[in-house]
């Protein structure tokens, strides 16, 4: 056991730092806690497209991938150093994660040659993707989805509705989970299709987040004809792919989650000073509790890397989404508490800080619900990590 990184990691970090110093646009330095809070209509600004392409072209988009996929064959530990350095600087790779984080690994693992050819553009951000999973009656019970796809000649005909689909308002393509065998047990009749969002019969209706921004949408499918070759993997084998998708979505996110927490703790210290309560022992103790939560979670994330399965989903990392999302919510609530009567105020009474804590607090529920709610995470950990029997 050793605190220091090895020389290979440190020189990797130096190389990344030099690249970021030269190329990272100011706009890419996001305020983690506040990035999408106001005025967002979900569109992707030009600087972000350029930045993502620059990262790809220099092999810094997904360092663990080979050169032709926007990487540089980095080791899992180097990838962690990459995520750590990006998070420490508050630099965001991309404003739309489904393409590079979920679609790319799924297509690389399960796609046909033609489908794998879509991957570079997905990672480079040239193609914007959304993922059609949740439905009005299939949220946590994802396997209960009922959007139908029936094979008719060389096409699937799709009818149904998806909901809470992030980036659907701007996406060009969608990875759509559909029911292809209604007679089979629910986990065994699901398939994955690639859908061009401009196909006739696809209708996107924006949904506003709890904070007012329109970043996700309902998507309706009415007699949408999808070429049969757009099937990813085998027919009725889609559930296995959802499991892969969710794992990809969760595995590296902990670094950003912890950075968001640490950034928030620094914010709380500043806030306590501004509010004149920095000498209040109760305030200090509660902020210290948050610091301890953040730093123990960072340690847990590092520990996960030391697991035999280094780089893949380790048991430790299944805890990270649950723990960091719940801690972040508590952190923003503490930010409101510290302000007393001003807690829920969103006017610009404190300069740049206006609305940071109350609006940020509302946004934190995205993390305790999306990608599997905290309750579903607990079910998964109970069964897969602790070996408890299924209900």
């Amino acid at each position: 056991m050793r605190l220091a990184w090895g020389p290979a990691e440190e020189s990797f970090r130096d190389e990344l730092s030099a690249f970021l110093d030269e190329h990272a646009p100011l706009e890419a330095s996001v305020r983690y806690d506040f990035a999408t809070a106001e005025g967002s209509d979900g569109s992707i600004p030009a600087w972000s497209r350029t930045w993502q392409a620059t990262l790809f072209d220099h092999g810094w988009m997904i360092p663990g991938y080979p050169r032709d996929l926007g990487g540089r064959d980095a080791t899992p530990v180097q990838t962690l150093v990459y995520l750590e350095e990006m998070a420490a600087r508050g630099v965001s790779r991309s404003l739309h994660f489904p393409g590079y984080a979920i679609v790319a690994p799924s297509l690389l693992e399960f796609g046909t040659e033609a489908q794998r050819a879509l991957v570079p553009a997905a990672i480079r951000g040239d193609t914007v993707w959304c993922i059609g999973m949740s439905e009005p009656n299939a949220g946590s019970d994802l396997a209960g989805l009922s959007t139908r796809a029936e094979l008719d000649g060389d096409s699937f005909v799709v009818n149904g509705q998806k909901v809470w689909t992030s980036y659907a308002t701007i996406a060009e393509k969608c990875c759509l989970y559909v029911r292809t065998d209604p007679a089979a047990p629910k986990h065994k009749g699901i398939s994955l299709l690639i859908v061009d969002m401009d196909t006739p019969g696809v209708e996107v209706r924006p949904l506003r987040h709890i904070n007012g921004a329109a970043d996700f949408a309902e998507v309706f499918f009415t007699d949408v004809r999808i070429p049969a070759e757009n099937l990813v993997g085998s027919l009725n084998d889609g559930w296995r792919l959802t499991q892969g998708s969710l794992a990809h979505e969760r595995s590296g996110l902990w670094v950003e989650g912890v950075a968001r927490l640490e950034h928030g703790v620094t914010g709380l210290i500043d806030l306590a000073r501004e509010c004149g309560v920095s000498d209040d022992p109760n305030v200090r103790r509660r902020i210290a509790e948050m610091y301890a939560r953040a730093s123990s979670l960072r340690a847990l994330g590092y520990k996960g890397l030391a697991s035999p399965d280094s780089g893949r989903m380790s048991p430790e990392h299944t805890y990270m989404k649950l723990a960091s999302s719940e801690a972040t919510s508590a952190l923003f609530e503490l930010g409101m508490d510290i302000q007393g009567a001003y807690g829920p105020v969103t006017d610009a009474v404190r300069g740049a800080e206006h609305g940071r804590w109350p609006l940020g607090f509302l946004i934190t529920f995205a993390n305790t619900i999306a990608g599997g709610s905290s309750e579903i995470q607990r079910n998964i950990i109970a069964q897969r990590v602790l070996g408890l029997p299924r209900t």
Partner: protein, 347 residues
């Protein structure tokens, strides 16, 4: 940043674990309750590990974690974690016997307020294993006084040690009246703080072991106990409790070994082993003990709840570990105290 144990560390963990599984059963704990010498045979084995008192901090934590898992009644903490580093700091010749495990020591530092920092009280409190220790190392006053602010170090035999009865009998604590004997040396208060910080991380490692024992017992019980025709571990109400307990144990473990590595890096002469400031160390120590305290209390409370009625009985072993958890959480600073200290370091 590498949390994987070396081959030697794995060997160390496996050997102490096997030893304790055989030699430190709940039956030994129960015998020790009414008859302290019942645990003496255990020390004849554990004494072999006493040299870790001045050894690598991570290795010390590995042993302490296993001792916590069985709630070992043993002077290891008092002798190796507390007395040995002080004797080493002043270059006392008794150190060799302490490290060999042939002599046991303990440390009298906390005064009337129960806080483990330099003070000039002659009434010392919460001295672990004082009655059975061969020597009590006593830290006297001196802060801001004579001898350039260093604290005096003296030794005595605690023949008048008075037992403090607590929830836990596995680590007996004593009040000791310290005579103004002849000092055998002096120690810088900052060096003393660093020794207490290292002992605090070691105690936190022990707490994690106790927490993990409570979790393991509760997990095993939830898998075997049948109600309403199924194992109670199939109910979400129970599953979610166990997940939250295990999360607290996981993060406490990580915080403890992060702190151990931080202390090791601060002492390392070679920059490539990492570097850490005194502030880094203090923060990491507070996080480790507070987080371990949270985990241990959480596992104690929800552990008894998951066990239901049987966990509330004297005959079931669960309470042995619940008692140890609460006693260790309060020793060398409660969770609250460590959060308060950490808060002061953040502002």
């Amino acid at each position: 940043m590498d949390f994987s144990p070396s081959d030697d560390q794995v060997l160390l963990r496996d050997s102490i674990r096997a030893l304790l599984a055989a030699e430190c059963t709940p039956a030994v704990l129960r015998a020790h309750m009414s008859d302290l010498p019942a645990a003496t045979p255990l020390w004849s084995h554990l004494g072999d590990f006493a040299a870790l008192g001045v050894g690598p901090t991570v290795d010390l934590c590995i042993v302490m974690e296993e001792l916590g898992y069985v709630a070992a009644p043993s002077p290891f903490f008092a002798s190796a974690c507390l007395a040995a580093p002080v004797l080493a700091a002043i270059g006392d010749p008794c150190l060799d016997e302490i490290l060999a495990g042939t002599t046991t020591g303990t440390l009298a530092l906390a005064g009337s307020d129960g806080m483990w920092r330099a003070n000039s009280d002659s009434h010392k409190t919460f001295v672990p294993d004082a009655a059975s220790a061969d020597m009590v190392v006593v830290i006297g006053g001196g802060v801001g006084g004579a001898d350039g602010g260093n604290c005096t170090v003296a030794t005595q035999i605690a023949d008048d040690a008075r037992r403090i009865t607590t929830l836990d009998s596995t680590r007996p604590l004593y009040n000791v009246e310290c005579a103004t004997g002849t000092p055998i040396g002096t120690i810088d208060p900052d060096a003393l703080d660093a020794i207490i910080e290292r002992a605090t991380v070691a105690l936190a490692a022990e707490l994690v072991g106790t927490a993990r024992r409570l979790l393991d017992m509760s997990l095993a019980y939830a898998k075997e106990r049948v109600q309403f025709g199924v194992a109670i571990g199939s109910f979400q109400a129970i599953q979610h409790k166990l997940v939250d307990m295990s999360l607290d144990v996981e993060r406490a473990w990580s915080a403890v070994y992060f702190a151990a590595m931080t202390l090791a890096a601060a002492d390392a002469p070679d920059e490539s082993d990492g570097s850490a400031s005194r502030l880094d160390c203090k923060r990491a120590v507070h996080v480790a003990k507070a987080t371990a305290g949270i985990a241990a209390k959480h596992c104690a409370k929800d552990g008894i709840q998951i066990h239901g009625g049987i966990g509330f009985t004297w005959e079931h072993d669960l309470h042995l570990f619940i008692r140890r958890a609460y006693a260790s959480e309060a020793l060398l600073g409660t969770t609250n105290w460590h959060h308060e200290q950490l808060g002061d370091l953040l502002f």
